[in-house]
């Protein structure tokens, strides 16, 4: 399936953050980030999202066709970070849909399955593609999933870590099943997202935009700031 991006009207999407009133009246930032999950089929992308968003694990998680969308909010110090997560289909055939989801994403988690060497190879291909095609400021994390099956491991931790270091990626081994490092990897991404570098520049650098609800300015998947 090849689909052109349906959102050509979308202006530059670097990072989007907006100040918002907290219910208690204190000033707190609410940032929204678009995050995309990529990786070979059945490595556990949907399972990671489900664990992160709902704290659940389904052994018989259905396969993903096209893509699925979920959101989850985490709190970091005085900032509320809202992730808008696109969980994509892993089968190679759906590849052509992927740009629609990673274009404009501020973060990506590339997932492989530590019990399957081929999926690691595929993850590397995704990383390359992101480095070439996605936003240059995109934060990429590499997740070696199914860590609970370490006794059937085919991809060594060190191998993946070295690769991640060479490419400037965040790296963790995760398990959607036992919840190991699942929240951590999302938090690590949240921390690394540029708002901390530019904390002061929120209003000055023109990158943060504040959109009132119902604002028609920019609506695309993942571009729905409130």
């Amino acid at each position: 399936m090849e689909h052109t991006e349906p959102h050509s009207t979308e202006p530059e999407m670097a990072n989007r953050q907006g100040a918002a009133q907290r219910p208690n009246g204190a000033q707190g930032k609410i940032c929204q980030f678009k995050l995309v999950l990529l990786g070979e089929s059945a490595v556990g992308k949907s399972s990671l999202v489900l664990r992160f968003v709902k704290g659940q694990f389904h052994e018989y998680q259905e396969s993903t066709i096209g893509a699925a969308f979920l959101t989850q909010t985490v709190c970091l110090d005085d900032t509320t970070v809202k992730f808008e997560i696109w969980d994509t289909a892993g089968q190679e055939r759906y590849h052509s849909l992927a740009p629609m989801y990673y274009r404009g994403a501020q973060a990506a988690i590339v997932v492989y399955d530590i019990t399957n060497q081929d999926t690691f190879g595929r993850a590397k291909t995704w990383v390359k593609e992101l480095q070439r095609q996605a936003s240059p400021t995109i934060v990429i994390a590499l997740a070696g999933n199914k860590q609970d099956l370490a006794n059937k491991r085919m991809v060594e931790y060190e191998e993946a870590q070295t690769y991640a270091e060479e490419n400037g990626l965040l790296f963790m081994e995760t398990s959607a099943k036992t919840a190991l490092n699942v929240n951590d990897i999302f938090l690590a991404i949240a921390k690394k997202l540029p708002k901390y570098d530019q904390n002061q520049g929120q209003s000055g650098q023109g990158q943060g935009r504040r959109l009132a609800e119902g604002d028609q300015g920019a609506k695309t998947p993942g571009n729905c700031c409130k």
């Binding site: 349906p6 059945a42 259905e62 099956l149």
Partner: protein, 826 residues
């Protein structure tokens, strides 16, 4: 008075129960997935037993899973065990020969199907009033995967062949020659008219049987002597003696097979010519089968589990008593052991049919023979009672025993006459489909090839291909809440069907989702893989033609564009809102249409949706999609992009019956050409030169309102002029020269498009505002802009706006008779 067709001594069934082996702790299989519970494996394996039909075999009806790996087997059960006659009745030689013949015939059917009884005894042979026998519980060893799925031994001590005692404890072997030994023992018992070794203790019995290894002479003779019956042995006819001696050979290889034994002269008189079943879609005609009776029994309130509870076979103990004493960190549980004595219940619980008889008391014999072709007033008096099928909810209809009785009786007659009754089947299906016959009815609706079995048999389903990995990871994620599909048998079958399909359809490739598309067919035809495959093979070209092309992007995009147009056509307000928030079908509807909702709905919903789909064409899924949006309409209208898309991430409770009714309505009320596609399979559509064609994907995606064909328009001008509003947007000059009768003229150049206000149309505003349910057909010509005006109407929330494909001029060639010229009129 209850009809005698229901009260038949052979139409009886019973239930038995036991526990499958529990996995210890939580262990994972090689793929990291938890091990499939043994009761599920067993459940899948046992399905095959339901297909065995033979006068000498009790029919398996159902396998039910209870709590904690409990398994309940429902099977035909009639007559009395042979064991009860032993010693009480004199068996003549000819009685014995007849029993031997029937027993061997039954076993040969089993052996041909690679089933070894291995648990054969006089208890599992049921003697009927007629004197014929039926073998019972013959699938126990088979369904437990040769005993591997249970933690108790399956053995009848006195009847077990000696090699069984010699084989290692957990070897789980089954050889058909073991049954032959048991046949020998049974025949000996009949001849001596007593059960063997009845006074011996367990260990003594085993020793006895093992001692045959040292016995140089005939085993039969030895047994006869030990039971003080040597005279009976001596006086026995030579043929019978020979048969028994052959059966009781110590070396299994020396024992003959059932087939060999049946060749014996003494069985000659029983041999009859067997007829093959000529019909493919339906089995040989009977008014109804035991399976159907069982189905009605359940609908009439029959509950197997409840009966077992009443009989004390299922006891519940307070949960506190089943708490483990100790749980180790690795998950090992100690001190919760189930009392091994309760693992297997030997009791057979016969089910009472009284409630059903009571319920069906008033059913007239005529109702068993519904008339299909001729009707007359006299005959009509015997028609089944009229049911207001439209008004009753599906769930009520499906649960009503009488209604299901009439439906099943009718459909099995129709299916029996298939393919000659094809049209009648289609007509009846519009009311509803009785769930019990759904598999057969679907196959008939899909017109599967009569030689589907041979076709399937010849397809390569084994050779390793590059798609294997994907299929392999998809199968354990495909509708796994369903017991059949999650069983090992289910996995194997699904894999074979998918591989066969990929092999057979070289123009296509495996897309994730094809697994879900196959699931309903496999579920309905679990014991007929070839039919499941045949259904899939007919379904794809009819409903998802070209969807599985390697590059399917143009096909899918066209389909999604048509979906957007259909929303705009029926619900402009929603369409406008979704468009405003950039909520495109591309983002959420691909799995809907690629898998015709089989990846988004649970099975029971898919079945009902497809019941209707199969009476429709490939545009039907668009209407289902629309009906889903309609159900969520109020939420969608107030939601922004995020909330909209979240709504679809896991499709919330969609009331499927509402959805179906709504889709049927819009499907009926939408002119066919509105949903015509370039990529639809022409084989299933009659086309004329006035149909829509030649629309590029670019045009299609740009046009927010659908086109309509001249054929449809002329048809409506002629037949339903009150339902249409023809808006001619050419300039007044052209209009006055020649126009469609009763059309109104709103020259498109005269409209100010700036604001979305219908008032811009001046004098005609009111007409359009009041167009209500009329189809608004915009007629232009080559030199008018055919997008701006319809889009304007759409933005003004005018419903059912469409554009005549080919413009005004096409009408001149189709049928000038609907045209008028104002000059003449005036």
């Amino acid at each position: 008075m209850t009809l005698s067709v229901f009260v038949n001594p052979e139409l009886q069934f019973s239930a038995t129960t036991f526990f499958a082996k529990q996995h210890k702790g939580e262990t994972c299989g090689a793929n990291g997935l938890p091990l499939t519970p043994n009761s599920i494996i067993l459940f899948g394996k046992a399905q095959f037993l339901k297909t065995l039909k033979n006068p000498y075999l009790c029919e398996y009806l159902d396998i039910i899973r209870g709590k904690h790996e409990r398994t309940i087997v429902v099977s035909q059960f009639c007559g009395k065990p042979l064991s009860e006659y032993l010693g009480k009745k004199i068996f003549s030689d000819s009685d014995i020969i007849k029993i031997a013949f029937q027993l061997l015939t039954a076993l040969s059917v089993l052996h041909k199907n690679k089933i070894v009884h291995r648990n054969l005894s006089t208890e599992s042979i049921l003697v009927q009033n007629s004197g014929d026998i039926k073998l019972f519980n013959y699938g126990f060893h088979y369904m437990t995967n040769n005993g591997q799925l249970v933690s108790f031994p399956i053995i009848k001590l006195s009847y077990a062949a000696p090699e069984i005692y010699l084989s290692p404890l957990k070897s789980h072997i089954a050889n058909s020659k073991m049954d032959i030994w048991s046949v020998g023992i049974i025949l000996v018992e009949l001849i001596l008219n007593k059960s063997l070794w009845s006074s011996l203790k367990l260990s003594q019995k085993i020793r006895k049987i093992l001692s045959f290894y040292q016995c140089g002479t005939s085993v039969f003779e030895k047994i006869a002597r030990e039971h003080n019956c040597f005279d009976v042995y001596q006086n026995l006819s030579a043929e019978l003696k020979h048969i028994i001696e052959q059966c009781l050979q110590i070396d299994p290889r020396s024992r003959p097979t059932c087939e060999d034994l049946l060749k014996n002269e003494i069985f000659k008189e029983f041999k009859v010519v067997q007829r093959n079943n000529p019909s493919k879609v339906c089995e040989k005609y009977q008014i109804f089968t035991l399976k159907e009776l069982y189905h009605w029994w359940k609908l009439a309130g029959g509950d197997i589990i409840l009966e077992l509870k009443k009989q004390g076979l299922i006891r519940s103990s307070p949960p506190i008593l089943s708490m483990p004493c100790l749980v180790m960190l690795d998950g090992t549980v100690l001190g919760q052991g189930r009392n091994p004595a309760t693992l297997y219940e030997s009791k057979i619980v016969q089910m009472s049919l009284d409630t059903l008889y009571q319920r069906f008391k008033h059913i007239h014999l005529n109702f068993c023979y519904p008339l299909l072709h001729c009707k007359s007033d006299i005959i009509a008096a015997f028609d089944p009672p009229h049911y207001d099928t439209k008004a009753l909810p599906l769930i009520i209809k499906e649960k009503d025993p009488e209604y299901q009785f009439h439906r099943i009786i009718l459909f099995r007659r129709l299916l029996h006459g298939y393919p000659y009754t094809r049209d009648m089947i289609r007509k009846e299906v519009e009311k509803d489909i009785p769930p019990l016959l759904r598999g057969e009815i679907w196959a008939a609706l899909l017109d599967i090839q009569p030689d589907y079995e041979e076709i399937y048999a010849m397809i390569d389903k084994e050779t390793v291909t590059t798609t294997d990995r994907q299929i392999e990871v998809d199968i354990p994620r495909c509708h796994q809440y369903n017991e059949l599909l999650s069983s090992s048998e289910g996995h194997i079958k699904l894999r074979r069907i998918l591989k066969a399909w990929v092999h057979q359809n070289t123009q296509y490739v495996y897309w994730q989702g094809l697994d879900s598309l196959t699931a309903p067919f496999l579920y309905l035809n679990f014991n007929d893989e070839a039919k499941a495959f045949a259904c899939l093979s007919e379904f794809v070209p009819k409903y998802v033609h070209k969807f599985f092309l390697k590059d399917n992007s143009a096909v899918i995009k066209e389909y999604l564009a048509k979906f957007s147009q259909l929303i705009a056509y029926h619900d402009p307000e929603l369409a406008n809102h979704l468009c405003d928030i950039n909520f495109y079908p591309e983002l959420f509807a691909i799995p809907w249409f690629l898998t015709v909702f089989s990846h988004v709905f649970p099975l029971y919903k898919i079945l009902h949706v497809w019941d209707n789909l199969l009476s429709g064409d490939s545009s039907f899924p668009l209407h289902i999609g629309l009906s889903v949006l309609t159900q969520l309409r109020s939420k969608l209208l107030t939601a922004g992009f995020n909330d909209c898309i979240l709504l679809f991430s896991d499709l919330p409770e969609v009331d499927i019956e509402k959805s179906i009714n709504y889709s049927n309505d819009t499907f009926k009320n939408t002119p066919r050409s509105i949903t015509t596609r370039e990529h639809q399979n022409e084989e299933y559509y009659k086309t004329t030169e006035y149909d829509i064609s030649g629309v590029t994907l670019n045009d299609l995606t740009r046009e927010r309102c659908p086109r309509i064909s001249a054929t449809d328009v002329v048809d409506m001008i002629r037949n339903t002029p009150e339902k249409i509003l023809l808006v001619d947007i050419r300039n007044p000059l052209q209009y006055s020269r020649c126009s469609v009768r009763n059309s109104i003229n709103i020259p498109c150049s005269s409209v100010t498009y700036g604001e979305h206000s219908i008032e811009n149309l001046g004098q005609y505003a009111q007409i359009l505002k009041n167009s209500g349910d009329k189809i608004v057909i915009v007629i232009g010509s080559t030199d008018t802009d055919l997008e701006l005006f319809p889009k304007f109407l759409l933005n003004c929330n005018i419903k059912k706006v469409c554009v005549l494909h080919g413009g005004f001029n096409i009408l001149i060639s189709v049928t000038p008779t609907v045209l008028v010229s104002q000059k003449f009129e005036a």
